[in-house]
């Protein structure tokens, strides 16, 4: 079924947004700050992917779950959403972890108060 992978990515991204909204982790803490971090991450990983494709290391699979749209040779549109998800997850986890650690009285990062 084409598009299943994309749909799953979008659902998972939706979960990231809900967690972010509920606990004010990333975009709900600092939208500009979050956007800058996310864009840098996605561009960086995108370059990594593109180099891997260019060097003939990775290839797009012929899975029927892919929507079939590619942004460049061997670079399916889903990959962008995957990279966004990886960066979003990293930052949700990081901010949640700083809060968890500071609540336990350890040396915390940026505490729990949304600025």
């Amino acid at each position: 079924m084409p598009g299943v992978y994309l749909a799953l990515l979008l659902i998972t991204l939706g979960c990231m947004v809900i967690l972010d909204w509920r606990y004010r982790l990333f975009f709900w803490r600092g939208p500009v700050r979050a956007a800058a971090t996310l864009i840098l991450g996605v561009v960086f990983l995108g370059v990594w992917d593109a180099l891997g494709i260019g060097l003939g290391i990775f290839f797009r699979g012929d899975s029927p779950l892919l929507a079939g749209l590619t942004l460049a040779p061997e670079f399916p549109v889903e990959e962008v959403f995957f990279l966004v998800l990886l960066c979003y997850l990293t930052m949700n986890l990081y901010v949640a972890a700083t809060r968890l650690l500071s609540r336990r009285g350890g040396v915390g990062g940026d505490g729990g108060n949304p600025s």
Partner: protein, 386 residues
């Protein structure tokens, strides 16, 4: 190159970004939290990477992987979460030290009004030599649109700090006075945004395009950074300034494997002379302010009159050079005429009356748009006639 080697390069770049963010961004990261996030990410990668490979979303060239795998997931895949956990929290904390107004100031320091002036020469040169839109086209255009300008003008503002404070003209459309506490963020933003695109363009290009790109970026750096600081050396000031705009076009041509015909070189020479003249004339209006601030330029050393005349002659030579380019290039000579009309009245300008040249210079902001439009029409004409 093997997947493991690529990972080492990219992890090195991520570490460099993290280091710059710590040193210049004064980011204070909770490494315990980053470690915790990494642990979860590694487990998630182990699970989901296996699933994704199992259903055939992607695969690897067998000879390029080490062969060490967690289930089906090659060990090298775990470098991705390692890089994000290393780099993103640091960037987040560094950017978190900025106030919203600071972000605007940093963006303003890259002169958004001029972004197109460097992106366009690259895009046009690349597109016309390859005739197809590729990832390299998009990455290169974005690179010359924002990071390149942040590197050029932002770092320029850092090193111009003292003189900018004494120059009332800077601070509006023509530039931003950068408070000292924003110097580190600007260097940070310029480095962070430049690295990915530069790495990519170096990797996909030939040795020639790579060399030209490095020279182009070096030209941007030596313009304002000591000890060379060519912006304060007569002649070298206008040469480096002009190459800031011709450089992206040359890099675009090299990446697009263009044939370096005499007609093409004539076109580049015309572009260079036009940039040379525009920079030289721009310095005329600043003679008094620059001298008062102890800044040197062609205009402060040779005087306003000589500099204005050099600019007028360089515009005229640009018009001559473009006549030697391939049809319909010679028509672009018409575009030189408005510039001559604007600068010619200043042929006899004196140092005392040099601030009046600002009137002419303000015209440039509009004339440049008109010229860009005219050049675009000619490029389309040329592309259609091929």
């Amino acid at each position: 190159m093997s997947y493991a080697a690529l990972d080492l390069v990219m992890l090195g770049a991520a570490a460099l970004i993290a280091l710059v963010a710590v040193v210049f961004g004064r980011a204070r990261v909770s490494w315990a939290a980053a470690g915790l996030a990494l642990a979860v990410l590694l487990v998630a990668t182990g699970v989901f990477d296996n699933l994704m490979i199992a259903v055939g979303l992607f695969h690897y060239a067998p000879h390029s992987v080490l062969g060490v795998a967690v289930g089906r997931a090659p060990l090298e895949d775990f470098a991705y979460p390692l890089a994000t956990a290393l780099m993103l929290p640091v960037v987040w904390e560094a950017v978190g030290r900025w106030q919203p107004a600071d972000v605007r100031t940093v963006i303003a320091s890259s002169r958004p009004i001029s972004w197109v002036n460097t992106a366009y020469p690259f895009a046009a040169a690349y597109l016309l030599s390859t005739t197809n839109i590729s990832v390299t086209f998009v990455v290169g255009t974005l690179f010359f649109l924002v990071p390149y300008n942040l590197l050029m003008y932002g770092i320029n503002d850092v090193f111009d700090y003292e003189s900018d404070l004494r120059n009332p003209r800077k601070g509006g459309v023509e530039g931003a006075v950068l408070p000292k506490r924003l110097h580190r963020p600007v260097i940070l933003a310029a480095t962070l945004s430049t690295l990915p695109g530069m790495l990519y363009l170096l990797a996909v290009g030939s040795w020639l395009s790579g060399l030209l790109l490095v020279l182009c970026v070096l030209g941007v750096l030596i313009y304002s950074t000591p000890p060379l600081r060519t912006k304060e050396r007569p002649v070298a000031d206008s040469i480096t300034s002009s190459l800031h705009f011709v450089g992206p076009a040359i890099v675009g041509l090299a990446l697009g494997d263009a044939a370096w015909t005499p007609q093409l070189l004539a076109l580049l020479a015309a572009f260079f002379l036009w940039g040379y003249a525009s920079h030289a004339f721009g310095a005329v209006q600043d003679v008094l302010a620059d001298r008062a601030a102890g800044i040197s330029s062609t205009a402060t050393v040779w005087g306003a009159r000589v500099t204005a005349r050099i600019a007028i002659v360089a515009y005229a030579l640009a018009g001559v050079a473009v006549l030697l380019s391939g049809w319909p290039g010679p028509l672009a000579a018409i575009l030189v005429i408005p510039y001559l009309l604007v600068v010619a009245p200043h042929w006899n300008v004196t140092d005392e009356r040099s601030p009046e040249a600002n009137r002419g210079w303000k015209w440039f902001l509009w004339l440049n748009q008109l010229t860009g439009f005219g050049v675009t029409l000619l490029l389309i004409w040329w592309a259609l006639g091929r």
